[in-house]
Subunit: 317 residues, 2 copies
């Protein structure tokens, strides 16, 4: 059994590669939910949906999020009622949010709802929210404290990020299925998602760091920073304004003591010695995932790399 | 000021004709809400929506309900999740249900939500739900007691109707705007909607019959039964199994003591003397509404007819 920790698009691609590389049912993806928010009274879980659509093979291939070929009639009609359609939601996508919201209001936990939706789409992997409790990312900027989606979508990540907080995280409980999966895993893969706002909340959920430290399995991260840039999203700029080095080495330092190995791109080969000095074994390969074949190839390499590692990180058994 | 009491498609057509015939803002439509129900956690108000879409000029011209040209991506995706798409909802239609549900959950009364939606669509008339309280039509059939939409849509009106009940109606309060409009109206028009399950709940809401009896204005009904048949829906079969005569005369008897005049179709001219014997003045004209011109012409005739009437019904001032 393999566990992946994932945010949105990058994490979903990595998870899809792992799903393709593994026997059916052998993958558990623990997903960030700190980006979740309410819109038009519906509960939106952007990262869960991106992972779910990707693992179901119905994700939009261009955006990486949303459903391939989705239309926008519902959102256009919402706009006709005078509401701001600032967050793009497709018609098929609305079905997800409607049914999720219905089940949550009936009292079902987010994890159960996620399992129901994923099962209906025929997904052979387990998708587990990091917690069933509510955690909300807040972004400190020169313009004040912003809700994550306001910063991320509404203001197009144009604000400098001076700080990040996860409201509610101190009292959130990591999902027991996630903790059990980490404990039993043969390898844990931290996907190339934003280390601050995608992987950060998962690691910050009480119980997760302890579970990773105690796991018998090697923990491997794939750097989302390639050639000093983020493949997608605001990770690079965010690392910079938060005082981190914007490179695979910066990622290594963020994950220091937490991972046994780091997978970096060919373009960052020169950083390997310094990363090794952080106590991490290094795999240098092509990490930029395009189509499905890329994802599968990277997943195979990451799994092979993990299999060579003996856990030596702090606290590892 | 003119008040119309309306159910779904037939009532909406009548209301549209009246809206065209009257100065902007002079029409108040009091709408049945006993068909309202919850689906996928959303609050659906079929008659309010049909009236709203029709008065906004965006109703589907073939079905009479739903939005013209609407697509069905959301419902298809809901079906992909394994849920039964038994009640047809278009993508633009979903926007209405999503926003209505959001506002109701925020604590807004249905009437306020309805006014907001109608205003955003530029509707110059007032659309008022008969009550902000919950009333639910139940249909007694040989197969047992059915929720209205289960009988009406789910089972396609195939069950014999042995009885009709409106759960919650005894404690419902008629909307004060509806009562005030009736009190101040120059005429009240009971639209050619199903007298049992569309007009019945409006009349059954405590306060409405008293308001109609006390109104200074003439009350005129338009028969929904033409040539012994309902123009749309199960009214004819329902009248029959409930022991009423299936004709404009049967309608006259149902509305006896409540209306001053009844508008019947040319084809029912021979019933005029017997209807007159019920104490109702009769206007014979073409009552089948097709396109917009039909609606406007009938509305003009109904208003002219009402203007000739002196209230003589039971309890009239």
């Amino acid at each position: 059994m393999i566990v992946a920790l994932a945010g949105g698009v990058g994490g979903a691609k990595m998870a899809q590669g792992l799903q393709q590389a593994l026997p059916s049912g052998d993958l558990t993806v623990v997903v960030n939910t700190a980006d979740d928010f309410a819109l038009y009274g519906l509960h939106i879980s952007p990262d869960l949906d991106t992972v779910m659509y990707t693992l179901a093979g119905i994700a939009d291939p261009v955006n990486g999020w949303g459903v391939a070929g989705d239309t926008r009639q519902t959102l256009d009609a919402i706009a006709r009622y005078g509401r701001d359609p600032w967050f793009l939601l497709g018609d098929q996508d609305f079905a997800t949010h409607i049914l999720r919201t219905e089940r949550l209001r009936e009292g079902a936990p987010l994890s159960a709802v996620t399992a129901e939706l994923a099962s209906a789409l025929g997904i052979p992997s387990r998708i587990v929210p990091m917690t069933d409790d509510q955690v909300a990312t807040k972004i400190e900027t020169p313009a004040g404290r912003l809700d994550f989606q306001d910063y991320f979508v509404g203001r197009r990540q144009s604000d400098d990020v001076l700080g990040v907080a996860f409201a509610g995280i101190d009292t959130a409980r990591a999902h027991p299925v996630a903790l059990a999966a980490i404990a039993e895993a043969e390898a844990v893969v931290i996907a190339p998602s934003n280390p601050i706002v995608s992987i950060g909340p998962i690691l910050g959920t009480p119980g997760v760091r302890e579970a990773l430290a105690a796991a018998a399995a090697p923990v491997v991260a794939v750097s989302p920073i390639v050639g000093g840039k983020a493949l997608k999203g605001p990770a690079a700029k965010m690392l910079e304004t938060l005082g981190h080095e914007v490179s695979a080495l910066g990622v290594a330092r963020l994950y220091e003591g937490l991972v046994d190995g780091l997978v970096i791109d060919e373009i960052d080969r020169n950083l390997a010695p310094e990363i090794a000095a952080c106590g991490q074994r290094v795999l240098v390969t092509g990490t930029v995932m395009g189509d499905g074949e890329d994802r599968r190839r990277l997943a195979d390499e990451v799994l092979d790399f993990a299999a060579t590692l003996t856990p030596e990180r702090a606290g590892a058994r």
